[in-house]
Symmetry: C2
Subunit: 317 residues, 2 copies
């Protein structure tokens, strides 16, 4: 698929950090950054921007906070063609954490929120846009919302100045038919805005669902190196780059950083197609129960996990 | 998707055996068989039927040959609801290897051939049908054929009595749009015949492509336990069973056999999403070069592999 409007955003460090409290080595982040720039990836998301007052800096790595001075210390000398992004959650960042864009190493700040909090998300985005950043609104977990709620949220988004709104399959539950349905809906309610896509790989559908979104004219595509991300992870960027025909993209630098950093990392940190994540994807649930299970002695007892999650009296359904 | 005509065929032992010369323990095959019967899977393919004159019985396990007496010795006492299948390649089986169906433990014999050999494939299928078996014709590697060749082959198939013809993505190269195109084509040329789908998972599209085929009215679906199969493997049957709504299917017995047998096996035998297989899928090539590479000291040097396969003077392109 060649369409000049298509942009790729790598979320390896931000989404992958959910599995290791953002304790990545500077070397890994530098190598990722250089590889992604060489690969022609448009945006590189380095983590969450969050207040150091709200999270313990001993417990969480620097990519949990994305303080500008910390990021400049690691990447300052390398600044290359790709734009830098970070994500904020509503209520976890303070005004002082977000510098005016001209004083910041970041170009884009993405706002993540649930549908119920869309007004708060839009208000935060508005403030961030006023500081000069590009913004996107990432509406999480919409597979758990009623259509009426989604429609109302989209009407609010359509009235805002946020240029890009994301279809997010937080729980890795969607089929390509769901992606098609939602991308069309987002376009219908938000004409003129860019539609983004962020998928999870619980059911090995992250890449296929991203392709479906591209077919439906989504133009901001999230992906991650070797699929790193929470639980089952995201759409592998090496797959996405082989699909896109835009001549600016190149997969080779990504293969290099996989073999140098992410393959070794995958032997210490777990993500990918793992049965408990698949089960929670099927059930349209947050992966937190599976993540805890994978850290227990029963981690490979898939039937016990399945029974636990599908027995109504246990789960309070 | 609920459609009563849909049948699922498990090819774990047959396709997975391509990675270990069919040296599966009897226990694993028995447990797989029992789990798949309990899961409601319609057909279980146990291997290739081949002449013991043509392959060394010391080197290859019994599922390379699928001699009726050997299979009866392992499964005879368990015979349950699912039908048993095996596959034959043209030129690798003799008439005497195929008993009349009433003397055989098998219900179905599938004939695999390339498009260039379709006449031979049809002739063999005809002979096998005359012995009373259900048959399918699996046209391999069609992603490397010109459309004209495929059309000619399908015209021949349409004139035969073979009730089922498969779209086979041997090299894991196809997108859902290719699946849609081919399933529609097969239906156009072979009205009234069942269309089957057999995918490979080089690009994490095996499940998504199987779903696409279902949407397009394919009714014979190949899949395998935990995705086992040559190289990247096949569509994981545990994913497929969660997608299909037919009440006869149940995923739980498959989860049990994964944790008891296939997860441990996956620590000794390699299959799944592995970068060299991904690269060969993108390049629309047989995985044999990647399989050999994964057995070499350079196995994790993905860039070297990529360069080797994409340098025209090396590959003689």
């Amino acid at each position: 698929m060649y369409r000049p409007e298509i942009k790729v955003l790598d979320c390896s460090i931000r989404d992958g950090g959910l599995m290791n409290k953002w304790q990545f080595s500077d070397d890994l982040v530098k190598a990722s950054y250089q590889a992604l720039c060489a690969a022609g990836v448009d945006y590189i998301e380095l983590g969450y921007k969050a207040s150091k007052k709200m999270f313990n800096v001993e417990e969480f790595g620097k990519w949990r906070f994305c303080a500008d001075e910390d990021v400049k210390n690691v990447l300052g000398d390398l600044k290359d063609s790709s734009k830098l992004a970070c994500m904020v959650d509503i209520g976890r960042v303070e005004d002082e954490d977000i510098l005016p864009v001209n004083d910041s190493i970041f170009d884009m700040i993405r706002i993540a929120c649930y549908v119920k909090d869309v007004s708060k998300g839009i208000a935060l985005a508005q403030k961030i846009q006023e500081k000069g950043y590009e913004t996107t609104l990432n509406l999480m977990a919409v597979s758990t919302n009623l259509e009426r709620e989604i429609d109302e949220a989209l009407i609010e988004v359509s009235r805002s100045e946020i240029p890009c709104v994301y279809v997010v399959d937080s729980y890795g539950n969607m089929y390509s038919e769901d992606i098609n349905f939602l991308v069309k809906k987002y376009q219908h309610f938000c004409p003129g805005k860019t539609i983004g896509i962020h998928t999870h790989n619980n059911r090995q559908l992250a890449f296929a669902n991203t392709i479906q979104a591209v077919i439906d004219n989504a133009n901001m595509l999230d992906a991650s190196i070797y699929g790193i991300g929470r639980g089952p992870g995201n759409c592998p960027i090496e797959l996405l780059l082989t699909f896109l025909k835009n001549p600016k993209y190149s997969v080779r630098p990504v293969l290099q950083v996989i073999q140098d950093y992410y393959l070794p990392l995958s032997r210490q940190l777990e993500w990918g197609y793992i049965v408990p994540y698949m089960i929670q994807g099927v059930l349209n649930e947050h992966p937190r129960v599976a993540i805890a299970y994978r850290d227990s002695p029963d981690k490979d007892d898939f039937v016990k996990f399945y029974d636990k999650l599908t027995t109504p009296e246990v789960m309070g359904k």
